[in-house]
Amino acid sequence: MIRFILSKLLYLVPTFLGITLIAFSFVRILPGDPVLLMAGERGISPERHAELSAQLGFDRPLWVQYFDFLGRLFHGDLGNSLVTKKPVMAEFLTLFPATVELGLVAILIATLIGVPVGVLAAIKRGSWFDQVSMTAALVGFSMPIFWWGLLLIIFFSGILGWTPVSGRISLVYFFPDVTGFMLIDSLISGQKGAFGSALSHLILPSVVLATIPLAVIARQTRSAMLEVMGEDYVRTARAKGMPPSRVIGVHALRNAMIPVITTIGLQIGVLMAGAILTETIFSWPGIGKWMIDSISRRDYPVVQSGLLLIAGLVMLVNLLVDLTYGLINPRIRHK
């Protein structure tokens, strides 16, 4: 198992280096110069422009800037934001828990609903449940997040008044960040009602964020189940007179889970993309909104280091997914 983990880790090194190059080039390929954007409609004299570019190090050849970026990276320095002038790492750590909290709840919703729905649709293939749930999944998958989020806000917060409109917790609660996870911090704070408020603020954004992964997971579970249920060993199990619940729960589901776990792992990337829009609509102070703001201001250090951190995270999750295969299917880890 250790060799298996090590071999997987080894793959990460070139991938990571590749990502540094992509992250570095991505913001620079976009047209637009951060110094000009800072000056806005007023304009900036060529001398002042040169002075500022030099101060920020943008006057150096690109490859020098890239190796400088890499060099600092190995010393754990991700640079400072051009806009706030604060260290990128500090900003990331402040905002990251909010995104994780939202993402975890979303993936939890997507999995807890998606897998059973997929299994049920597969068992009752062709039934009204199958048709309705798979059509709903298709609709969910095609849902424009921005519109969907606004719709939910208008209906549940505006018309029904059941949920708060946006934010992470009601403004009447004020306590210091301990973990950065609002659900935990609100409990630690001991303030009455804080946890309930934090929970109610999580409902709409996590439902919105869960929508696309939920649809994908449900469809993937259904097709994986259908495939497995056609296998010889399932037929054999049935023929032996094994109770259907055991056939489905043990023989079929366990094997169908491999592609499903892959799908769930891949959804982490999808979640990050969804977080960008979801966080903007729900004024959720996470890294998705942070990236969008930084891209529009061409805040090079934040975009390149932020992308790197996010990509690193997705890689880590995929590694965990790979390791989980090993747990579920011993053949994979012995290959």
Binding site: G32, L37, G43, P46, V172, L199, I203
Partner: protein, 534 residues
């Protein structure tokens, strides 16, 4: 679904019944953008100033609420030498700086704070100039302070003298701007000793009506009333900014009572807000102008008669109706009508396609095709440049001018539109910084601003016009300046380097029970006079 709705109800009921502990009077503002930081000097965004300069700090002089008139603030009075080169400020005594967990001021505000606040921006050698690596002072620079201020002299603890290199009438208005906020020199000393200089930006100490309490990045800023404020005490105890970037969500929050006031409603929502019985809305003409700048260095646009003819072909009212949905007015001058020296005697070009076509033909212009540049972003002076460009395209087609609409990414747009060989006319605009006419005409239309790095996108250099501006800038007599600027506007209209398009209307929706909010012509949001009634 039943299960889901049960969870929803349970969670929200839990939140509602247990929330709302006894509270001091709190006012929540659904702000639009996160502040870049809390030291106003290095930043340029209006949202940053609303969160820093206005609640936390004061300046020597400030804009009187709801106007662009300069009034005494931390300076009680001032004298200008006859040659206009020396400004001597008498400072207000007994003004207390805020305190926080780590800092309690041992002395009142005095001349040292003034000198510290300016010198750190003025001199690259100042120990606080680079207190955060890579920091720059763009407003200080762009208002030409480095070349204008020769020296700042401490006459005594409560008297400061600014020595200028040239007479500059807008000087007082310039130093009423946020970048000139006064920070505490004593606090800076303490931070220096503690090795936490960056706290000048993170844990700000000022003299303003509200004390900074806490900032949760991209989410919430909290302030508390400054009980020792030298001016009229704020009526609310706690001020909270709930950062909400999306206009539709801001409106939902306002309707749900999660905040009491919001900036920048979407134009499409204006009508609905007006009808909402729980809301009210202030409105005011914005201190801005939207324009179409011709490249006056290229034929046939170097001919004022051609430019005037094109201006006559534009149906500007149709643009106001379509793009602003009525929330704006047609512009005839380069400065907005709320600004002093606005020349209302000037008549706008009358929309007349037939006459326009004839005028173009008289100038020998036939089969003209041109480009119109449409900005990719929304601005208060131009919420939808693409739509405006399409309307102009139709108008110009009626007089036989073919238009191709082009656009670029915003940074590139700003850059390329200043290239002297630019092909086409550019849609752009301006929002005033300080209410001085020179901040419009000087910045956008003078010969100096037609140089690289300027903002004169018509590349229009009319010596007579520029001379009048220079003269007006050196006189502090407002009546005389008014006359000069009125004259300048006549030349502008006659020469038509731009098609002046619009001045937009600014709206501020708020809850019915909000009182005392005063809209600022400069677009600032200040809450020291705001109150909420039950």
């Amino acid at each position: 679904m039943k299960m889901l709705s049960r969870i929803l109800i349970a969670a929200s009921a839990l939140a509602m019944t247990t929330a709302m502990p006894a509270l001091a009077k709190t006012f929540v503002y659904c702000s639009e953008a996160s502040p870049e930081g809390f030291d106003p000097a290095p930043y340029t965004a209006g949202g940053t100033f609303d969160a820093s300069a206005h609640p936390i700090y004061n300046r020597l002089v400030e804009f009187k609420k709801g106007t662009t008139e300069v009034e005494p603030a931390l300076a009680e009075s001032w004298e200008v030498s006859p040659d206009g080169l020396e400004y001597t400020f008498k400072l207000r005594q007994g003004v207390k700086f805020h305190s926080n967990e780590k800092f309690t001021p041992s002395r009142d505000f005095n001349a040292d704070d003034v000198i510290f606040s300016y010198q750190r921006q003025a001199s690259a050698d100042h120990p606080w100039n680079q207190y955060i690596a890579g920091i720059t002072y763009e407003y200080y620079n762009s208002m030409e302070m480095p070349s204008l201020i020769k020296d700042i002299v401490k006459v005594d603890d409560y008297t400061v003298k600014f020595v200028l290199t040239r007479p500059e009438a807008p000087f007082l208005a310039n130093i009423a701007m946020p970048f000139a906020s006064i920070v505490s020199a004593e606090y800076a000393d303490m931070l220096d000793k503690a090795g936490t200089k960056e706290d000048l930006n993170n844990a700000p100490i000022g003299t303003g009506p509200f004390k900074f309490v806490a900032y949760q990045k991209d989410a919430v800023i909290r302030y508390a009333k400054n009980a020792d404020y030298w001016g009229p005490a704020p009526k609310i105890d706690d001020l909270v900014f709930a950062i909400t970037p999306d206009a539709a969500v801001r409106l939902q929050k306002l309707k749900a009572g999660e905040c009491q006031l919001m900036p920048y409603p979407a134009p499409a929502d204006i009508a609905a807000i007006k009808e909402d019985p729980n809301l009210k809305m202030d409105e005011q003409a914005g201190l801005n102008v939207g324009y179409l700048a011709y490249n006056t260095t290229q034929a046939p646009f170097d001919n004022p008669k051609v430019r005037k003819a094109l201006n006559m072909a534009l149906n500007k009212q149709a643009i106001i109706d379509a793009v602003f949905q009525g929330a704006g007015q047609v512009a005839k001058n380069p400065i907005p009508p709320t600004m002093w020296s606005y020349n209302d005697a000037i008549a706008d070009d009358v929309y007349d396609p037939v006459a326009a076509k004839a005028a173009l033909e008289a100038e020998g212009v036939k089969d003209l095709s041109m480009k119109i540049w449409a900005m990719p972003v929304q601005r208060p002076y131009m919420p939808n440049a693409k739509r405006a460009a399409e309307l102009m395209q139709e108008d110009f087609a009626k007089v036989g001018v073919k238009v191709e609409i082009v656009s670029y990414e915003w940074g590139e747009y700003l850059d390329k539109s200043m290239e002297p060989g630019r092909d086409g006319a550019v849609i752009l605009g301006w929002t005033g910084d300080n209410g001085d006419p020179d901040n419009f005409m000087g910045v956008l239309l003078s010969c100096a601003s037609a140089q690289p790095g300027g903002a004169n996108r018509a590349f229009w250099c009319n010596q007579e016009f520029s001379d009048i501006l220079s003269k007006a800038k050196q006189t502090s007599d407002v009546a005389e300046r008014t006359k000069l600027y009125e004259q300048a506007q006549v030349i502008f209209k006659d020469q038509a380097p731009w098609a002046t398009l619009d001045h937009s209307t600014q709206y501020v929706p708020m809850a019915k029970n909000v009182t005392g909010f005063v809209m600022s012509p400069l677009g600032d949001f200040t809450f020291d006079t705001v109150d909420v009634t039950e």
